[in-house]
């Protein structure tokens, strides 16, 4: 087992890793920017090293500084948390070259999953369903017709070199296909300098469902169930829960087995999350994999009672899944609210000094936060104030507990999105489990003038 671990991150996830290390009797080293001098992860680590000025690129993303800190502190391993360097294959390689264990997948797998097209191709080859599409550029109108009949309608035509919502056209009827194809090509040429377009089935009323996995370095992989993450605002997750109200046991079982099989084939190890979009007809399509621990991991921890971060450390130290994880069962329902330092209606960021901070407790309540009364939320990093997680015997109890917890969570001095979460939980469609990835954008659009 490692003697000493450096946490290459900040905020609540750094604290999370520190507590896992403490439980395993591992000494800890924190790194921090000048803006985080008074941060809790600096206080609670056994050692702390300042690695740069406030800007992430000069500090938390600065590989030479992080590695140099790891060397002078003589650590055995680095845990990268999420964000920052956690999916930087180059960083993982530098760690290896410096004889420091990177707590995560291998550089090759990080790279594979980081290149989204390649990830889709590999996972498709390994047996996962992917969104039906043209598999590359569609060269001409004849090809467009052929692809359309294969993948069915409705479909999207997208620019190969594109992004930002431009060079995209929706096609609902056969009649629209060729005119849309031509317009999309013209638009793509003008916007991106290349008329190349590809085609993809349009997923209607999509739901974002992801599977948590753990793999060891001896070839075993397990699935710890799914999380529903459809409540997103501008593609940022706001609320997550497990299990998903959209999955029946048979589908859960089937997809779980497919995921495990695919990841065994590619030799995946450590923690990861496999993301799917669920179509209105119930079909699930692989979209991407995140080769790291995720923000919403507590949802799975509350349901399975598996400590995912400790498992990561143990797996990286060479333990097999039987020891690192052991057996577990999924019980009850968990919901996580991401509370951000933003105005709850306009979403304008609200950094600054917190003047009052009272965290809720009681049965089934977990709060992951790095903030406290008198702390200053710096403007340089993400706006996450706290992750509030509620677990109950069933979804109704989880929702009821979350209501109470949100009411009991007092944060003053900055604006937070607590009122937004209260609103979400009171929405009939949310309570009924009827929503998709557009739900929250619709809910918030009206207020956000």
């Amino acid at each position: 087992m490692f003697r000493k671990i450096l946490v290459a991150n900040r905020g609540e996830i750094a604290l999370r890793v520190l507590s896992a290390c403490k439980e395993l009797d591992i000494r800890t080293v924190a790194v921090y920017s000048e803006a985080d001098r008074h941060a809790l992860h600096v206080r609670f680590a056994d050692e702390a090293i300042c690695i740069g000025p406030p800007r992430s690129s000069d500090s938390y993303l600065n590989i030479p500084q992080v590695i140099s800190a790891a060397e002078i502190a003589n650590v055995d391993a680095i845990h990268p948390g999420y964000g920052f360097l956690s999916e930087n294959a180059n960083f993982a390689e530098v760690c290896e070259a410096s004889h420091i264990t990177f707590i995560g997948p291998t550089p090759a797998l990080i790279r594979m999953m980081g290149e989204k097209d390649r990830a889709r191709a590999e996972m498709a080859a390994a047996g996962l369903p992917i969104i039906p599409g043209s598999d590359g550029a569609v060269p001409d109108e004849a090809a467009a017709k052929r692809v359309a009949s294969e993948i069915g309608l409705p479909l999207m035509i997208k620019a190969v070199e594109g992004g930002g919502g431009r060079g995209m056209r929706m096609v609902r009827t056969k009649r629209e296909l060729i005119p849309a194809f031509q317009t999309a090509r013209t638009e793509a040429q003008q916007a991106f300098g290349s008329p190349s377009v590809y085609m993809e089935k349009l997923i209607e009323r999509p739901r974002h469902i992801e599977f948590q996995v753990l793999g060891d370095r001896h070839g075993s992989v397990i699935s710890l169930g799914e999380r529903e993450c459809s409540l997103q605002r501008r593609h940022q997750k706001v609320l997550e829960e497990s299990p998903s109200t959209a999955l029946d046991p048979a589908t859960r079982d089937r997809i779980g087995k497919q995921v495990v099989e695919a990841l065994r084939k590619v030799g995946y190890s450590n923690a990861g999350t496999v993301e799917f979009l669920r179509d209105a007809d119930g079909s699930l399509y692989f979209i991407e994999m995140n080769a790291r621990i995720q923000v919403e991991h507590p949802v799975t921890e509350m349901v399975t009672q598996v400590d995912l971060v400790k498992a990561q450390i143990r797996i990286a130290a060479g333990e097999r899944l039987e020891e690192a994880v052991g057996s577990f069962t999924s019980r009850g329902h968990a919901i996580e609210c991401r509370i951000n330092a933003e105005h709850p209606e306009t979403f304008v960021p609200s950094p600054g000094r917190i003047t009052a901070f009272r965290v809720p407790g009681g049965p089934g309540i977990r709060v992951d936060t790095a903030l406290y009364a008198d702390a200053v939320v710096p403007p340089y990093y993400d706006s996450l104030v706290a992750k509030l997680v509620a677990h109950g015997r069933d979804r109704a109890e989880a929702i009821a507990r979350m209501h109470g917890a949100l009411d009991g969570f007092v944060v003053e001095g900055i604006k937070t999105t607590i009122p937004l979460h209260k609103r979400i939980l009171a929405e009939p469609d949310f309570i009924a489990g009827k929503f998709d990835t557009h739900f929250l954008d619709h809910l918030t659009a009206a207020k956000e003038k």
Binding site: V29, R37, I72
Partner: protein
């Protein structure tokens, strides 16, 4: 360039207004009485003498627990480093014309270009802007740290071979007045 004048014995070498012969006497005094550290102020002069720490094999002097008790391994002369102050060491000279050179990187501080060579500078050395003051080794690369001012080295805050973090004070340089 005119030397600064203070009251001093004729012929004596001098650093910052203090007669070096006097400093040597103080060092002998410390040796005789087994002192690790000696500090006094007289008139406008403030002297602090510190023997190299006996506990040379200590780990990095890093910020640790929030309570201000010093880490067990710290040498007596290391002020307890608490996160709110960011770094230990003798407090950097507060005189208005003393410029503190801080480490721009994390690494290991070396006073000389190689193990057996002389140190780049010592207290009292006159340095020019751009002159190499020390090396900080990071990831097997030797980074030369240059002075960004011209003047005289009045304080060296770190010990050879010790780890340093970003922003750690390295040298105090009394900036030469421009004529």
């Amino acid at each position: 360039m005119a030397k600064k004048s203070t009251t001093k014995p004729a012929g004596g070498a001098e650093v910052g207004g203090v007669d070096l012969a006097e400093v040597e006497r103080l060092l002998a005094f410390m040796e005789k009485h087994g002192l690790e550290e000696f500090e006094y102020a007289r008139g406008g002069v403030h002297i602090r003498l510190k023997k190299p720490s006996a506990a040379a094999a200590v780990g990095p002097r890093m910020a640790t627990t929030w309570d201000t008790s010093p880490p067990a391994h710290a040498a007596i002369s290391d002020a307890p480093r608490t996160p709110s102050h960011g770094n230990a060491a003798p407090s950097p000279a507060k005189a208005a014309d003393v410029h503190v050179i801080k480490s721009p990187i994390v690494g290991t501080y070396y006073a000389s270009p190689s193990p057996n060579a002389d140190a780049f500078v010592a207290v009292g050395a006159k340095v020019e802007s751009g002159q190499v003051l020390c090396i900080i080794e990071a990831m097997k690369l030797m980074n030369e740290i240059e002075s960004d001012v011209a003047g005289e080295v009045v304080q060296i805050f770190v010990e050879n071979g010790k780890p340093v973090e970003y922003g750690e004070p390295l040298f105090g340089i009394r900036v030469r007045e421009k004529k």
